[in-house]
Symmetry: C2
DNA sequence: AATCAGACCGAAAACGTTTTCGGTAAATAA
DNA sequence: TTATTTACCGAAAACGTTTTCGGTCTGATT
């Protein structure tokens, strides 16, 4: 435990605290012999500076905060993992907080972080957040903030995003290229930007490949669950027996769909192809394994921290803060729930 | 941003900082009118006390640290979730760190936490940790510590555990009660206590039900992976075609086994029953769904924090710290990969 | 002998808060 | 009137560090 202080060391050696402090920090105006005496004693006593006192003077904590909607999610926990790993390299510790997709909680938790005087904040907006004053105020107060994943362009700060629209376009395009023509989309709750983006990517792909958009092929899952996917499958196949492809908003839904199709004796991918989104761990353990879009959470986390660090430095040096936007590329992970691309089409278009 | 200080408020109102401080904390020796004047101005200026300065005086940060081997695991992230939720109730923030199952990292990360002068630490030991001096020293230094999940009884502090042995006994017992007699066990790496406990629970169950223990029915998975489970299945069924039950150390292995059995055209549970451990999310999405042991991570986290809080209070009050051990009950989640218990046996024994 | 330059060290202020201990005035009691 | 309480407020120290600004020596230079 860090109990021994500069004062105690100085008393033992008959020096002043200033001298001891300077000796430990290798100031040039301290005699080498004195330095050695101080450093040796400090080592022997396991001296470590008191972090509060340092923070009080320097106005820096070397602690940052990250606020996510829900920690118990592979996507978010891997983002946090990326943040922690990157932060560690630069000596920063990370406080983790959750908003549970609640606007009130988001405000409350952010206030906790701000009140602790930590150095910076990274956050992913809750689904319910439609006003951004609480965040803009924090930024205007001088606190470096980085947004990731669920962001808003109304907030002027650095952001890390994946291009949901582009990824979703690719997913749909892949279904089309593998021969699907009646492609259903299971979307999520209305508000979040990701929902809209993935929906638009789907729609754009259809347009690009001259496939008529049919609104009745859009189904909605409110809680993004396995059960939703399972239950919607029966409804989908009853209303549209000709469906030959299903693009789900997120893997758990897609996995529910797989099970639903199996129960209906519908062959995947022979009769219906299924593609998910997010590359959850379990998507490679299903039967058949699930084709999906990979979002590299680690990379999002690492890049978010890098942006934050940049602004922490800019702030310290009095420079103007950046608001750059980093886009993390996604990739499509092709598995068994979709057909392979026929040779004649797989050439670049 | 918390910029306005007591001094500034005092200057505006023509008071001393002491008076302002006392007014805000409702000291009895301050005039009510003065209190109101101070509190109103403080509100108007959005005053929040400087956390460093408070910590410097009080020697309390209201921050605790948690160190887990790996955050990106449903089990650990749900523990952290439990900790954060419980900590929030009492105004504590949580710094999250990972050891990546490395002894050196464990030491390093713990030192970071100790040096930050946080109030307490909760940790789950890394697999590689066989010496405990680094932790014992921290405890002797006066830092409250709580161990959970991967613990050692050589460390004198509060602990939260699940009784792996009992749970494993139950899992094996369930297989026996549903008619299995040649039960294989896939165990984990040798060192960790959990490996041994689950192995012993398996063995005890066999003894209790007068089934001969056959060492050749024990298989080892080194990296606890889906692939290990898959690959071991072929070997197991080749060496012991009469196997009718498989108890895997952890769900991913069990799910690999399910896939392996399917590839070998072995019916589950008709020919072979399979039971996992940990109730990973995906275990309810497989075909067949997996019977497993549920470990309530949230409860572990919440209880761990409660123990820590108790010792934080004890420390503040100068009381002696407790070292109590809380055992979190597990439950068996019966799904499709095992047979139901026959009526005549299911009566209490 | 007087001056000057280093070399080395310490005093003190500052970061912002909390709390103890008086101190002054007014109000009450003697 | 004097003594004593009560009500209210402020000075100051403390938490532990960092850094500026002198200050005191020694030894060298005129």
């Amino acid at each position: 435990m860090s109990k021994v202080t500069l004062k105690e060391i100085s008393k033992i050696l008959g020096l002043s605290t200033s001298t001891v402090s300077k000796a430990l920090k290798d100031y040039p105006d301290i005699n080498d012999i004195t330095k050695i005496r101080v450093q040796e004693l400090a080592n022997r006593l396991n001296y470590t500076p008191n972090a509060f006192a340092q923070s009080l003077r320097s106005h820096e904590t070397k602690i940052i905060g990250i606020l996510v909607p829900d920690l118990v999610h592979h996507f978010f926990s891997s983002i946090i993992n990326g943040v922690i790993q990157e932060a560690e390299k630069y000596g920063y510790l990370v406080i983790v907080l959750q908003s549970h997709e609640s606007y009130e909680d988001e405000i409350k938790q952010l206030k906790l972080l701000v009140d602790k005087n930590i150095d910076g904040i990274m956050l992913s907006l809750s689904d319910k957040t439609v006003k951004y004053d609480h965040i803009i105020n924090i930024i205007n107060g001088g606190m470096p903030v980085v947004l990731f994943d669920k962001i808003s362009h109304l907030i002027d700060c650095p952001k890390v995003i994946i291009d949901d629209r582009k990824a979703s376009f690719r997913a749909t395009e892949y279904l089309i290229k593998t021969g699907c023509r009646r492609i259903a989309h299971i979307t999520g709750p209305l508000k979040p930007k990701t929902t809209i983006d993935r929906y638009m990517g789907y729609k754009n792909a259809l347009e690009t490949y001259d496939i008529a958009f049919d609104k009745s092929l859009i189904y909605t899952s409110d809680n993004l669950s396995f059960d939703d996917g399972y239950n919607l499958t029966a409804q989908m196949m009853a209303e549209h027996p000709t469906i030959d492809g299903i693009f789900a908003f997120i893997d758990p839904i897609a996995i529910g769909v797989l099970k639903g199709l199996k129960d209906q004796k519908i062959k995947v991918p022979k009769q219906v192809s299924v593609i998910g989104f997010s590359n959850w761990f379990m998507s490679r353990t299903t039967t058949p394994t699930l084709t999906t879009i990979n979002q590299p959470g680690d990379e999002i986390g690492k890049n978010a921290f890098k942006l934050l660090l940049k602004n922490l430095n800019h702030k310290r040096e009095g420079k103007v803060l950046t608001s750059e936007i980093v886009e993390i590329p996604t990739s499509i992970v092709i598995r068994e729930s979709t057909k392979p691309i026929p040779i004649e089409i797989s050439a670049p278009i």
